[in-house]
């Protein structure tokens, strides 16, 4: 160790130190053994065989307590130690090195049956189903995520947060295998739960501590007034928890959400998320009655978002149209597709702006906007007409080719199409 840290050294030397240790055995023991397909190492069927014995040895248990050991004694009496040998030596001799006899007792099979993660997630899910049923309510669309995220971060939401400690537990780091995505929901719920606990804890601490900060005191009293404290906490947590969402999952959802109704639902959830966040913020600055805060445009915008007088369409903030312009179809669709899970079921108050059903809502909005005001970024939205040009082109080509074909076989195409012999 010492020569690694001081004195002349070169990269090769360092490298050698790293590689010359053979740690495979420890790693085999310590590493979780997943299905062999997940790693590049070939799985050693004997890996883990000795774990129970090793544990027992560590714990100082007499080897006779091991179930394997009993059978082992029957099978291999040859190894029975001469009695005069010291205890450790006999322990050593009794240790089972060869794989065959034990393979049947040991749970090798279990370990390799199916991806371990599945069971694991299942367990998680069952456990969490009781304690944290609310995580799924949060907005599920990437847009909602982004907006809430934006709200939260550089903006104001989290900056007004009380001294509650919200550690970033989950990070999305590059690509993960597809199998992992399966666990996300359970995972997030688990972290969510942990975070809530943490927040509550921090809250308790803060309650006791924050004597100096009037703002905090005020906020806590808000909490208390509001009630049991739990729903409010929940809202906070959801907002804080949003950033943990996985990028890839978003993309997947983006693809999935091509469907008409889901798209609508997404939109609704986005609005919900925004409104909730705005509400959150407004509650926090409620006590501030200075003129600046009263007249603030930004806070005015927040109020509008909260009251759903404004909403986000694509890349723009738009005034929600008043009742006159919304048609019945739009209304109906809106309320049908509105998720029962969402926290605010006030779809009546939120008429679809142009009453255009379907994927085209945003598109229609876009078209309603004068060309010079339109945002050029169409790539973000699912365009129903995407690829239509290509299709048209292909059809065109096909038609031309077909016509050519006809001409080469027989110049009289009219004859062909009218003739009873024409097989087509």
């Amino acid at each position: 160790m010492s020569d690694a840290l001081c004195g002349p050294s070169n990269a090769l030397q360092q490298f050698k130190q790293q590689t010359s240790h053979d740690r495979t055995l420890q790693q085999d023991r310590l590493a979780t053994r997943n299905a062999p397909s997940q790693g590049f190492r070939s799985a050693d069927p004997r890996a883990g065989l000795l774990d129970p014995e090793f544990e027992a040895f560590q714990a100082g248990l007499p080897p006779s307590e091991l179930p394997q050991y009993q059978q082992f004694q029957h099978q291999q009496p040859v190894f029975a130690a001469p009695s005069q040998q010291p205890a450790w030596a006999s322990d050593f001799q009794r240790m089972q090195i060869s794989p065959q006899p034990l393979a049947q007792h040991h749970n090798v099979q279990q370990m390799h049956a199916g991806p371990a993660t599945a069971d694991w997630a299942q367990g998680f899910r069952e456990q969490m189903a009781h304690s944290a049923p609310r995580a799924q309510q949060s907005a599920s669309s990437p847009q909602a995520f982004q907006q809430r995220a934006r709200f939260g971060m550089p903006g104001f939401q989290s900056h007004f947060a009380q001294p509650g400690y919200a550690p970033e537990v989950q990070q999305s780091k590059g690509k993960e295998p597809a199998v992992e995505a399966f666990d996300e929901a359970a995972f997030e719920r688990a972290f969510d739960q942990a975070r809530e606990d943490l927040m509550e804890e921090a809250d308790q601490v803060a309650k006791g501590v924050s004597t100096m900060d009037q703002f905090d005191v005020q906020m806590h009293s808000n909490h208390d007034m509001q009630d049991p404290g739990l729903p409010r906490q929940t809202a906070i947590n959801e907002i804080l928890q949003e950033p943990a969402m996985d990028m890839e999952q978003e993309v997947n959802q983006d693809v999935l959400h091509g469907e008409t109704e889901q798209h609508q639902e997404t939109q609704n959830n986005d609005d919900d998320a925004l409104a909730a966040t705005a509400q959150e913020l407004l509650n926090k600055i409620e006590h501030n009655q200075t003129d600046k805060f009263k007249n603030s445009q930004f806070l005015g915008l927040m109020r509008k978002l909260r009251d759903r007088e404004m909403k986000v369409e694509g890349d723009k903030m738009v005034e929600t149209a008043t009742a006159g312009s919304s048609s019945n179809t739009g209304q109906a669709l809106n309320s049908i597709s509105h998720s029962p899970m969402s926290r605010f079921n006030n779809s009546e108050q939120r008429p679809s702006p142009l009453g255009v059903p379907g994927v085209g809502t945003q598109q229609a909005m876009r078209e309603g906007i004068p060309a010079h005001e339109q945002d050029l970024d169409t790539g973000r939205h699912i365009d129903g007409r995407d690829g239509q040009e290509v299709v048209d082109l292909l059809n065109e080509r096909e038609r031309v080719l077909y016509a050519d074909e006809l001409h080469t076989e027989d110049s009289d195409s009219e004859f062909m199409t009218t003739s009873p012999y024409y097989q087509r």
């Binding site: 360092q14 907006q147 995220a149 934006r150 709200f151 971060m153 550089p154 903006g155 104001f156 989290s158 900056h159 007004f160 947060a161 009380q162 001294p163 509650g164 400690y165 919200a166 550690p167 970033e168 990070q171 999305s172 921090a202 601490v205 803060a206 501590v209 924050s210 004597t211 100096m212 900060d213 703002f215 905090d216 950033p243 990028m247 600055i285 501030n288 600046k292 805060f293 007249n295 603030s296 445009q297 930004f298 915008l301 986000v312 694509g314 890349d315 723009k316 903030m317 945002d375 970024d377």
Partner: protein, 344 residues
């Protein structure tokens, strides 16, 4: 006091050019950065007030900017879509270079002041990345595992990087250290720890809160200041890595941006969500009655902004005390701190 309106865009950051005393840049976003485009303004201080020399449009909100230290016409922006863009004032309307590695909003960019060939970015994806303008990929990624609101190179050393993050820690990276499991992390100082000199009336500190901004002192090479959601400005001395040296409460809401004076070793400027910009001394200036270490206090404040104050920067040139601030009221104000000082 000079004023410029960034009509339709809400500024997030303002920076003086390190080359020209009359040039400013402002990074902004439409709709308070919630949705919509971003715009980078290049402003000139003229005899007739502030004039917009040029602006660049971007697809997503811009959260921060940094002037190139190597080229007087170039500047770097941090985008809400995770992109970094290098603009050249003399070149068209599009960036001359772009980098896209961050998975989330980039919150800060900073140019290396000593070795002028590198810059860094910090993002909500929990990483700080070191870049070179010549390379398409980042040179180095420093994982922080928590949303990084602000990262900087030390102005005294080319290989020291600091950052503050949501988890209420000030991290110091030494890029000369061996790449190891530590990823160059040398120090992680808890920002919420008890300060060495607790200000009167502030007996116990709150728990951890998100830290939003930090800045290196330009004169004392081991001193930094941080501020964040709890509205308290803290100073740190890296020689005492157990916690803050000094704490200065005063802002009602979160402090968004902080900057040490380039002229005075003890003076700080801050912008806050309480819509004020305040000037502070950390009490270290012996000539002004400080004792090298002592109680910080507010020297003065500027109340003109009518929305959340977002960015501050000191002018490097001319008389000490000139600064620029920006806020969500779509205004950039250039003013002299000395006019807003209160009597002692």
């Amino acid at each position: 006091m000079l004023e410029f309106r960034t009509a339709g865009f809400n500024p997030y950051s303002v920076k003086y050019s390190p080359f020209f005393d009359s040039r400013l840049a402002v990074a902004s976003g439409a709709n308070f950065g919630l949705v919509g485009n971003g715009r980078l303004f290049i402003l000139n201080l003229t005899a007739n007030g502030i004039a917009c020399e040029k602006f660049f449009e971007t697809q997503d909100c811009l959260f921060d900017l940094a002037w190139s230290e190597a080229h007087e016409n170039q500047l770097l922006t941090a985008g809400g879509d995770g992109s970094l863009k290098l603009f050249d004032i003399g070149v068209g309307e599009f960036p001359v270079a772009g980098w896209q590695e961050h998975q989330r909003e980039v919150f800060s960019v900073h140019w290396n002041l000593v070795n002028k060939g590198t810059f860094l970015s910090s993002s909500w994806d929990g990483t700080v990345k070191i870049w070179s303008p010549e390379k398409k990929e980042s040179l180095l990624t420093l994982p922080v595992h928590s949303c990084v609101y602000s990262a900087q190179f030390s102005p005294h050393h080319p290989d020291i990087v600091t950052c503050v993050s949501r988890d209420s820690h000030l991290r110091v990276f030494d890029l000369r250290s061996k790449p190891s499991a530590q990823n160059h992390l040398t120090l992680a100082i808890p920002i919420h720890a008890q300060p060495k000199v607790a200000p009167p009336g502030m007996n116990r500190m709150n728990g951890p809160t998100e830290c939003l901004t930090h800045d290196w002192n330009k004169y004392r090479d081991s001193v930094l200041a941080t501020a964040g959601v709890d509205g308290v400005i803290r100073t740190f001395d890296l020689r005492v890595p157990s916690g803050p040296v000094n704490a200065m409460p005063g802002h009602e809401y979160a402090v968004r941006k902080l900057s040490w004076s380039p002229h005075l070793s003890d003076v700080l400027l801050s912008a806050s969500y309480d819509m004020t910009c305040r000037v502070w001394t950390d009490g270290s200036n012996v000539d002004k009655g400080g004792e090298g270490i002592g109680f910080g206090r507010e020297l003065g404040r500027m109340d003109r902004h009518t929305e959340f104050a977002m960015g501050v920067d000191w002018c490097l040139f001319g008389a000490e005390g000139w600064c620029a601030t920006c806020a969500w009221d779509e205004r950039v104000l250039v003013w002299d701190v000395r006019e807003h000082m209160r009597g002692p």
